[in-house]
């Protein structure tokens, strides 16, 4: 089985602060990470590889520094990494991004294409489904689980508002995965040692199959009207415990913050 996983490098939004004067994001010193939903998609692919044997390719579109997440993917156990980068791709919205990725994917043979549900910097959840449309492939979004029958059928568990939907889908197809689907593995030490020995294939416009007018700023119908910071609220911690224990936890927290003595 051949699997391709689309991954994206994003700023770690849990670490981002807002400039109180301008209301813009302070991105200086904010670490870049592999988008969490994508990482779970990658873990799903690697589990399929562990269980059934598979060849796993990762692809990302982004500036040169996005190389880091491809090295991370190698250290987690992928077999091939492709970096789509070209000035012609710059300024892309989701539609232009999905055109570029679809253009690259036309050059790759695969049975299963996995993307994360959405990226934490844009939260659109559009790129995966758009790729499926460009490539005219069946798509299943919001996956919690996926099993392979060893031949060509996948059994999928899809998250919907009221519960779950179970589906059977034949390869080739496109799925988008939720970060709650699994706990992605750590990079292995041996994988890290070899990460920069492996080749990352760098592809530009000339390597892919796509109409230039669909790319970059020209191919992006989205225009941002206004960006503003919404009120900040810490994420909080969730405890599912008995009342007595909950009271103890609340009192301990209030003491830690010196609200109670």
């Amino acid at each position: 089985m051949k699997i391709v996983v689309c991954i994206k490098q994003v700023p770690d939004t849990t670490e981002i602060k807002i400039d109180p004067k301008t209301g813009t994001l302070i991105r200086d010193g904010v670490p870049s990470i592999m988008n969490p939903d994508d990482k779970s998609g990658l873990e799903m692919a690697l589990q399929l590889k562990d269980e059934n044997g598979a060849h796993v390719t990762v692809i990302t579109m982004g500036p040169p520094q996005a190389d880091l997440i491809l090295r991370e993917a190698y250290a987690m156990g992928v077999d091939r990494a492709i970096h789509l980068t070209d000035r012609k791709f710059a300024g892309a919205d989701t539609l232009a991004t999905s055109h570029a990725l679809a253009g690259a994917l036309r050059k790759i043979d695969f049975d299963l294409l996995i993307t994360g549900r959405q990226a934490i910097d844009g939260d659109t959840a559009q790129v995966g489904p758009q790729i499926a449309e460009h490539l005219d492939l069946p798509q299943v979004s919001y996956l919690e689980d996926l099993k392979f029958d060893g031949d060509k059928t996948f059994t999928m568990k899809r998250h919907i508002e009221e519960g779950y939907q179970m589906l059977e889908v034949e390869a080739p197809c496109v799925v988008t995965v939720l970060s709650s689907a699994n706990n992605p593995r750590y990079m292995s030490v041996g994988g890290i040692v070899d990460a920069y020995q492996n080749e990352v294939e760098v592809w530009g416009f000339n390597e892919i199959e796509v109409d230039e007018k669909n790319l970059g700023l020209k191919g992006s119908p989205t225009s941002v009207h206004k960006a503003f910071a919404r009120g900040l609220k810490p994420a909080g911690e969730l405890y599912e415990v008995e009342t007595d224990e909950a009271v103890g936890i609340i009192i301990k927290k209030l003491k830690e913050k010196f609200i109670l003595n």
């Binding site: 292995s188 030490v189 041996g190 890290i192 990460a195």
Partner: protein, 379 residues
């Protein structure tokens, strides 16, 4: 001259910090309180290659280097010094001497199991009457045909209860002092070999420190590590490497205490403002951080020299001495800045201060490090 980490080391640091934060830190207080060996953490570390970082790939290791290994011990110790020393003793004191002195057959037999973490390693040199004075060994190995018969005991052995393979030292010729010591490899379960009492310690309370007892243990000659009567040199070289591990542990403890203190002083209010606003707090933090960073430079320099295969004994002694004394000083200040809360087990700096003390004692006391450093100056 370049002080920056390599690309691989940057990736490694990202992984090990994440691992320490999510897998090790949540257990640290419990491991200390219950004096419990965190075997589940060892299994998780084994799975991703942390138990075999500097062991070559041909022997099943990760093929990394000593700088990466020191970074691992540092980051693990920043959240749990017990976990740090488990990795350090396993790697520096058991896998390393087998790698450096073993026959090809010994390497093939032991390194893959140690590197994969299937087996845990330990090291036995210290005896009740032979600490710094290694020539005072009373454990003996007497030749008997194709075997050696081992009798005696070892104390303060890290990982003892959970280890599967031990590098130990015994007198093969008492008349020759340090020139009569030989190293052996002994496996758990060898008849006559047993684990004695477990120490109740001030710090690193999860690390299973026990006595090893040898009663007429028959060891085949192929278990000799290195040559006959060359054990003292093996022990000293092994401890040189081990000191980098312990210095990294001390460095991690200091950094961990700083991390906790920075968070605390921003939250703790006195006289209507966070105590981070007071100049005393600021100056203390500046000193703590500067000394810790200096320790890090010494540790990385020694580890890098070991990787470059140039002599590093003095560098190892310096980083161990400085990082250990810094850990003690920084954790002491961290407790002071926490005030009364810092003296309670509600806050991790109390544990960190107890953990720091051992780094001034084991694998060569601070006094021994000063002897090594000054002897090199005066030779």
């Amino acid at each position: 001259m370049d002080f920056s980490l390599t690309k691989e080391q940057v990736l490694f640091q990202q992984m090990i910090k994440d691992f320490a934060e999510r897998e090790v830190k949540p257990l640290a207080a419990e491991v200390d309180e219950q004096e419990r060996f965190p075997i589940e953490t060892v299994e998780k570390m084994a799975k991703i290659g942390i138990m075999g970082i500097p062991i070559p790939k041909q022997y099943g290791g990760a093929g990394g280097n000593n700088v990466m290994y020191s970074m691992a011990v540092e980051e693990l110790s920043a959240v749990c010094a017990t976990t740090g020393v488990i990795v350090s003793a396993h790697t520096s004191l058991c896998a390393a001497p087998i790698m450096e002195n073993g026959t090809e057959a010994q390497k093939q037999k032991y390194l893959p199991k140690l590197a994969s973490g299937e087996w845990i390693g330990a090291f036995g040199l210290t005896e009740p009457n032979a600490g710094t004075d290694a020539a005072g060994q009373q454990t003996t190995a007497v030749e008997d045909g194709d075997n050696y018969i081992i009798n005696g005991s070892k104390i303060f052995i890290t990982n003892a209860e959970y280890a599967h393979v031990y590098v130990i030292f015994a007198m093969t010729d008492k008349s020759k002092g340090t020139r009569g010591i030989t190293a052996f490899i002994i496996e758990k379960g060898t008849p006559g070999f047993s684990i004695g009492k477990k120490e109740k310690k001030m710090g690193i309370r999860g690390s299973a420190t026990c006595e090893l007892i040898f009663e007429n243990v028959v060891l085949p000659k192929e278990n000799m590590l290195g040559k006959l009567n060359k054990g003292f040199g093996i022990a000293m070289k092994t401890l040189d490497g081990g000191r980098i591990g312990i210095a990294a542990q001390a460095l991690g403890i200091a950094q961990g205490a700083i991390n906790e203190t920075v968070r605390y002083v921003k939250e703790r209010k006195q006289f209507g403002r966070p105590i981070s606003g007071f100049q005393n707090t600021q100056f203390q933090l500046a000193d703590m951080n500067t000394k810790t960073e200096a320790s890090r430079m010494l540790v990385r320099k020694a580890a890098n020299k070991k990787d470059q295969k140039v002599p590093y004994s003095v560098d190892a002694a310096m980083c161990k001495l400085y990082a250990a004394e810094t850990a003690m000083e920084v954790t002491n200040k961290a407790v002071q800045l926490h005030g009364g809360y810092g003296y309670t087990r509600e806050y991790p700096v109390e544990r960190m201060m107890r953990d720091a003390k051992i780094t001034e004692i084991y694998e060569g006391t601070s006094e021994v490090q000063r002897m090594v450093i000054s002897a090199n100056m005066l030779k």
